[in-house]
Amino acid sequence: MYGRVGRSSLLSTQCFLGLLVSLPLVLASNVHDVPTLEAYRMFEYDDKGQQLGSRKSAVNMLAVPASSSSEFGRRVVVADLQDLSAVYVEKLFVERSAGGLLAILPKDIDIENPEQRSKWLEVETALAKMRVNAPVYFAFESNQTQNLKRMLEANPGEVQLSATGLVSPTKASNVQGANFQGWLPGRGGGEESSSSRPIIAIVAHYDTLGVAPELAVGLDSNGSGMIALLQLAKLFSKLYSSKRQQGMYDIVFVLTGAGKSEFTGTKYWLEHTDSRLLDRIEFVLCLDSIGYGDKVYIHTSKQKSKDSVPAVAKLWDVLKSTAEDMNIPLEIVRKKVNLSDFSWEHEQFSRKDILAVTVSRHSTHRADIRSSILDRKLDVQALKKNILFVGNVMAKVVYDLKKPLDVFEGSLSLNSAFLEAWAQELAGTPRMMQYLGPDAIKTIEKAGQLLKEYTAEMTRQMFSLGQEKVFYIGTSKAQISVYSVRPLSFDLLMSLLVFTYLVALLVGIQGRVEAQKTIMSLFQGNNKSLTEFRFIGVPESDHGSDV
């Protein structure tokens, strides 16, 4: 008898093991999928010691719709664009001390609806200058966000948002940037340092700015300038490749970093470039936001009184006549340089007394779209026209042309495919200087390599960004899970029901009087009842019944 039992229990042990192994399979099919949405965290930075931006990142809170009048404390407010305004945002965090904000933006917000756009820009600008002591996330409309809104509508107070796997933000000190400079020699060739020809410089910065670093792709500002610079380098490298077509000018293309940080890269380039080269610069064309629009604005810091200076007069004349020939409305915008706040790239050159202008579609430097996460598209046709304008201006100077502008035709005509490919690549690479990821660095290096290919000499300059503005780097793109939860009252009610059921069961088995005694003994000192059992001699009963 004994032997038999032993054998069977040995067999059963194997069975148990088998069941344990099969258990995960059973589990895997049962796990519920929790809807997850992709959200982008707002930046966080110290500006001269002042703490700004969203100072918290962790989200594990109940969600509440923006329209709700209930308590916002320790709740994530889920807001649509129409709910938001600069005043609302201020009120949200200051008066109602909301626990967090999840702003859901329409998918195609940028050009479709100018009203929406200006509204969002107002909100974004307000947010960027605020100190928010709560997590702020942005998401674009999707099935998941719609699902979230539906859940909030159906069961307000029973939806919990939770972001997992967040990396806590740390100060990004000593951020490195790079400038790329390509030199294209004019007639006579030779070394860069020994040349004595005048220089035309084309400058554009490649970095971007936006309230959510992971969304700051800045296609117009300054993806368009970057693409234009590459395209112009390509065109002029073709032109200059045959000796007969080389102009009397050298052309320098400079792709600068940290343009959104007071043009630190440009400043560094000016400080660390041979002064003999700088002295030869006749004028500088900075390209910023030229991916849209029919009108071209020339921003300068030259006073009207300087217009009679020959070099200035010549530049104005070339710009105006080219615009006239191409039928592009052109306006010259004058603004004094503010040394504590550089708003255009040419101002760095003006400070060094180099004749420089910025070509842009914006009439004023106060165009908030230049530092917005909405800057995600550009119009290739408009960009093409603007590149052609700059190209024609350069050609006119380089070849000293008087009239017909037929340089960029035939084999030298602009290649839309090139522009589109770059636009597409840049649209996928957020390029905020402090948050440059490996992909963005690869793209920028690629642009640098292209510049190397198109020019005779390419130099790459590394520099450090200043410490006045320090950004915090953590998780910029988070996965937020949307849980449907029940309030505590539900759990308590359920506990009550379960307890009632168990008591009823006991009463059913033992009868009312006995059951009452049993329950009393359970509540009156566990120890006593335990020792009682031990004396009775059924110590295993507790464990045995569980198996």
Partner: protein
């Protein structure tokens, strides 16, 4: 308060068998027998799994195949074999009920404990866990009834 929800579900699943055993069936079915019954249950289930894997090749649950369904039903009868083995030694009605209870408790242990522990503690609320726990209670009745039925059937010839 998801932990409370989990605790509720676990209590609803595992306390009823404990109450039943401790206050009703303990005198008929000693612990050793209950443990043995649990092992036999596990063995029977494994045996059934092996038979299923061998004789019911179609993995598609939506496909209806008469011969396969028959085979499945037939394989389920292996439970009877397991009970038959257990009843060989002892056979009183209380013992049979104790064995049935042991089987349902073992089933809850294997099929419900881990899913409840893992999932009911997650933030995501789902009625399924509560349903699982209620199902456990129904399964107690079913298992005891089945065990008693088999016991009656075996006992008849005597």
């Amino acid at each position: 308060m998801t932990f409370l929800y989990c605790a509720n579900c676990l209590a609803l699943t595992f306390v009823p068998p404990w109450i039943l055993y401790k206050y009703k069936l303990i005198e008929f079915a000693p612990v050793a027998l209950v443990v043995q019954a649990a092992f036999v249950y596990a063995g029977t289930q494994l045996f059934q799994m092996i038979l299923m894997a061998t004789f019911v090749p179609s993995a598609d649950p939506h496909e209806f195949n008469v011969s396969q369904e028959c085979m499945k039903a037939f394989i389920t009868l292996a439970d009877v074999l397991g009970l038959h083995y257990l009843f060989q030694k002892r056979s009183s009605m209380g013992t049979a009920a104790g064995i049935g209870l042991s089987w349902s408790a073992t089933e809850s242990l294997f099929r419900r404990l881990v899913p409840l522990w893992v999932e009911a503690r997650s933030l995501q609320f789902s009625w399924n866990h509560l349903l699982t726990s209620i199902e456990a209670n129904i399964s107690i009745a079913i298992h005891i009834a089945f065990a008693l039925l088999v016991w009656l059937w075996i006992r008849k010839p005597n």
